[in-house]
């Protein structure tokens, strides 16, 4: 574009040359080249198909099935996910996963490591018959600079979690910044979010679906430990 805008500048100043004999009231001569036009229709199209293709794998990984997908089935008592990261694609696979519950309401996140079947209105969480140990999943509070006291979710590195989520009032969306994922939390139905925790980290969960007054302060801490 830069090349064209300088190379093809009018050399004659105000006395501009009229390349295609443009005249008022006359539809100008066609200036086209079918081969060129088809070329820059087809080439981007192929590029798009390629881009879609390479975006497909992460799509499958992010919404893998909870029944024998990348993360297997729910862990039994004292089973561990032992999740592995494929360094080429960044995709994490695990042997099994743990279920925890995230609830959004104006303007606080709450976490529940042992979701109770009765707390759900529509979909139910299968009762696994035992409780997760506090080293696997724990809920506390933490003071975050600027945000004040906020809930803290402590998880274990190397373990994979499936968050089942619902809202008590309006739409919210937890942004798990360390994983770069988010999913809306709705009052009408349950949504899920995979949290494959591979590395030790300390980060924040923000709310990224506008939910009213204190939307910007609705946050939580996320600590992943060994």
């Amino acid at each position: 574009m830069f090349h064209h805008s300088f190379w093809y500048t009018s050399k004659e100043g105000e006395e501009f040359e009229n390349q295609d004999g443009i005249e008022v009231g006359v539809f100008p001569k066609h200036n086209d080249d079918m081969r060129l036009e088809v070329a820059w229709t087809v080439l981007p199209f192929i590029l798009i198909i390629y881009l879609t293709y390479i975006s497909w794998a992460p799509l499958d990984a992010v919404w893998t099935s909870a029944d024998g997908g990348n993360h297997g089935y729910e862990c039994g008592l004292s089973e561990s996910s032992n999740n592995q990261i494929d360094l080429d694609t960044g995709i994490i696979t695990s042997e099994c996963y743990h279920i925890l519950e995230i609830t959004g309401k104006q303007w606080v996140w709450s976490f529940n490591c042992n979701p109770n079947e009765d707390s759900w209105t529509g979909d139910t969480v299968p009762d696994r018959g035992f409780e997760l140990g506090t080293n696997l999943c724990d809920v506390g509070t933490i003071a975050i600079e600027g945000y004040g006291m906020q809930p803290l979710l402590s998880l274990k590195a190397g373990e994979t979690y499936l968050a089942v989520m619902q809202s008590e009032d309006v739409t919210h969306s937890p942004w798990v910044q360390i994983l770069g994922v988010k999913e809306d939390v709705l009052p009408s139905h349950q949504t899920t979010l995979w949290l494959p925790m591979h590395d030790v980290s300390e980060s924040m969960i923000l709310c990224t679906e506008y939910c009213g007054d204190a939307h910007s302060l609705m946050s939580a801490g996320l600590s992943v430990h060994n």
Partner: protein
């Protein structure tokens, strides 16, 4: 009664109604309602203040110490209160900060910032209480009301004859705090100032057009003609003025948002105010600035380009315009009462129907409904005009590209906006009469709103960008002194964007829990948008190839458009790729992307259109030197505003958050320390960008007053608008005589023998069908 008087009266009635609409909410609803005695006074003891009562307040320091408690004595003298009355008087004290508490039974605490006398304390003229100073630096105001009573309340005469008065005392902080402006007051003041400036400019232009007859007798018919005109050019100018005015208002709101975000943890705007400001910034910019600007140029140029005398339905056209200011007033009612819509321009359910959303949201919905009506009527009008009023010789494939873009845009709008209208009616009913379309607990589905909104919302963003494509096609071709490369592929690309726009809206809802299969489909369709857009960009470049580019201001803006729009397009390609969208959704990266396409695309396109068509519209040339200055300052500062936002988004700055915090340690806190510097940089650039656009305004005013006279075809374009004089006559083409239009222009075609004019196989087949039908019909007679 003559028609002029009727017009004049309807104008007066209309203006009174407008003023009533604007001011009545100001009178009846103070922010959070009229909050008792502090604002309204002791009106149970008389209607107004009285000078004979002298309230005093003793014990307050002039400068307080942090968290220290002060014993405060309030008292009064004067008035009808005399010893021996059944009651002597009462008081009410309000403090803006700190905490008021009681010392004895004569005083009661209503809340930490309000105290008053009790039943026991009714027979006194002095009271003591406690005030605890806050732990931080604040400017503190106390408002004391005292009433002096004559004690006849027990005798059945009520409070008649009582008198009251008020004083206000200020206490300063240990470290001086600068008085902070109320953002509402700033916004309202700036809106009123803008309106006054607009009125002065209009009056001044009227004065300059004919300095000798500057009086009401000539002004009245002039202004009445403007306000009641159905001429497409006058309505177009009105649209244009409204669009520019609201572009300014939306800009002011953007600046206030940027002031708030310039430093971390700022509290210039409260959360509540910030939420309203970004809601109204979005609504204003899309519906009240971009759409009217587009309609302004469409009104002006479409009839001129197709050689029509006016639009097909001129009265409907005027009505479409006048629905907009009414809608705007409804949308803004909330701001002036302090409880404007706080839902974001997307107004997601169920928040929009929940009790936590502001009352002003109802008015916002009502105003949006007006705009829906306006856009629907505009759609009908332009589709009809373009379909039936093209000049002889102008087939569909000979229409200028700007007209094509308006056709495509209006078709999209016309097919998509009913969904939005339906959603708005549902929300309105939910909010007003308690239906449960979006109430999840009653079986409503909040996701329905997202579907209805984005079914409209995504075509809508193309509605505002496609006309800019049309402008750029015209400008680049004319400036390069070439006919546009690949006219037909340009048309098909625009039509393609129009079709694809309806099947991509799911990408706004990637995080809403939709099915992974649909996510994949939407990912593919969204990526497909890049194909027709790419065709257009390549075609523009090829148009310049072997042309002889004449550098004018509109050429510069068109080239600027190519840069920014391509960058915006590339950042747009990140979103359909799902894994990236999960991080970027609702982050500042999104903000950067859509400002790159909406400002760098639509607004730059229309700046180009202003410089391109202004001579045609006013008959005066714009100043090229000021134009180039405007381009340079605006283009540089614009990139300064929006480019760093990409980085902020990647770092994790969320959109629609009223503030952010930076963290020095790696561990906790959402943004690195550099984020503060970049935010300040963005805010400063935003101010520069805002003020650089005043160069354009100054240029326009200067040119209208003493610009060079413009020739009919200053740039050497081919379409019909360059055939008429500058400014064009009314009606724009032809003469109306005995119910028939005559002297309409005829389009000639420079490529009679070009392959494009040969009918394709499909067309031949179709034509053969038509002929057959005719023959059959004739045979049957």
């Amino acid at each position: 009664m003559n028609i002029g008087k009727i017009h004049a009266r309807s104008i007066v009635v209309m203006s009174i109604l407008f003023m009533a609409l604007a001011f009545s909410p100001l009178v009846s609803s103070f922010p959070t309602g009229i909050s008792g005695v502090k604002d309204s006074g002791c009106n149970c003891h008389g209607a107004t203040t009285s000078d004979i009562v002298v309230p005093t307040i003793i014990g307050l320091p002039s400068i307080y110490n942090y968290s220290e408690s002060y014993e405060v004595t309030v008292a009064f003298t004067g008035g009808p209160s005399t010893i021996g009355n059944i009651n002597l008087g009462g008081f009410h004290l309000w403090a803006s900060e700190g905490e008021l508490s009681t010392l004895d039974a004569t005083v009661q605490q209503f809340n930490p910032s309000e105290v008053g006398h009790t039943e026991v304390g009714n027979d006194q003229t002095t009271w003591t209480l406690m005030w605890t100073a806050p732990a931080s630096d604040k400017n503190i105001e106390f408002i004391l009301h005292t009433n002096s009573v004559n004690g006849n309340a027990g005798g059945g005469a009520g409070s008649s004859g009582d008198e009251w008065n008020r004083i206000s005392v200020k206490v300063s902080a240990p470290i001086e705090v600068l008085e902070q402006a109320n953002p509402y007051v700033v916004l309202s003041t700036l809106i009123v100032i803008s309106a006054i400036l607009l009125a002065i400019t209009v009056t001044y232009i009227f004065y300059r057009t004919n300095p000798d007859s500057f009086n009401w007798e000539t002004f009245e018919p002039w202004i009445v003609e403007w306000l009641t005109s159905t001429d497409h050019k006058k309505v177009g100018t009105l649209y244009f003025l409204a669009g520019m005015f609201f572009l300014g208002i939306g800009g002011i709101m953007a600046l206030m948002i940027r002031i708030q975000l310039s430093v971390p943890g700022n509290d210039f705007l409260t959360q509540d105010q910030y939420n309203q400001f970004f809601t109204l910034h979005g609504t204003t910019m899309i519906f009240l600035a971009a759409m009217p600007l587009i309609n302004g140029f469409a009104n002006w140029m479409v009839p001129l380009q197709i050689g029509a005398p006016d639009l097909a339905l001129p009265r409907i056209n005027a009505m479409s315009f006048w629905l907009q200011p009414v809608g705007a007033l409804l949308i803004f009612t909330g701001v002036f009462s302090g409880t404007g819509a706080d839902t974001g321009w997307t107004g997601y359910a169920p928040y929009i129907v929940s009790e936590t959303a502001h009352v002003g949201t109802t008015m916002w919905v009502a105003g949006q409904l007006m705009l829906v009506a306006s856009s629907t009527l505009t759609g009908v009008n332009f589709l009809t005009t373009i379909a039936v009023m093209r000049a002889p010789g102008m087939g569909w494939m000979q229409m200028p590209l700007f007209t094509w873009s308006i056709l495509v845009a209006n078709l999209m709008l016309f097919l998509s906006i009913p969904a939005f209208g339906v959603g708005l009616v549902q929300v309105y009913l939910d909010r007003v009469i308690g239906t449960a379309f979006y109430d999840a607990s009653a079986g409503g589905d909040p996701l329905l709103w997202s579907h209805l909104f984005w079914y409209f919302g995504h075509p809508e963003v193309y509605v505002v960008i496609v006309p800019a494509f049309g402008v750029i096609s015209e400008v680049i071709a004319t400036s390069a002194r070439r006919s546009v490369f690949g006219y037909r592929s340009m048309v098909y690309a625009m039509a393609g964007i129009g079709v694809v726009s309806f099947i991509v809206y799911g990408h706004h809802m990637f995080t809403s829990g939709m099915s992974p299969t649909l996510r994949f489909v939407t990912m593919l369709t969204t990526m497909l948008v890049a194909v027709p857009t790419g065709i257009k960009i390549f075609n523009w470049l090829k148009t310049m190839h072997r042309g002889s580019l004449v550098y004018r201001t509109h050429t510069l803006w068109a080239l600027g458009f190519l840069i920014t729009f391509t960058l915006g397009g590339i950042s747009g390609m990140f979103f359909p790729s799902m894994a990236m969208d999960l991080h970027f959704h609702e982050s500042y990266f999104v903000v950067a992307h859509f400002h790159y396409v909406l400002v760098g695309g639509t607004v730059f396109g229309f700046f180009s259109a202003i410089y391109y068509w202004f001579p045609k519209m006013t008959g005066k040339m714009l100043d090229e030197r000021l134009g180039v200055l405007h381009f340079l300052t605006a283009f540089i500062s614009y990139n300064g505003v929006f480019w760093p936002m990409h980085r902020l988004g990647v770092w994790g700055m969320a959109r629609r958050h009223h503030t952010y915090f930076i963290s020095t340690e790696e561990a906790m806190g959402s943004l690195p320390i550099e984020a503060a510097g970049w935010n300040m940089f963005i805010s400063v650039s935003a101010f520069l960008f805002f003020f650089s656009n005043f160069i354009l305004i100054a240029n326009m005013i200067k040119s209208v007053i003493r610009g060079q006279k413009a020739p009919a075809d200053p740039w050497g374009g081919w379409s019909f608008e360059w055939m008429t004089s500058s400014p064009p006559p009314t009606p724009s083409f032809g003469h109306f005589h005995d119910g028939v239009w005559s002297d309409l222009p005829t389009l000639k075609d420079a490529n009679e023998d070009h392959i494009a004019n040969e009918p394709s196989a499909v067309v031949k087949w179709f034509q053969s069908l038509m002929v057959l039908d005719d023959e059959n019909e004739e045979a049957s007679h």
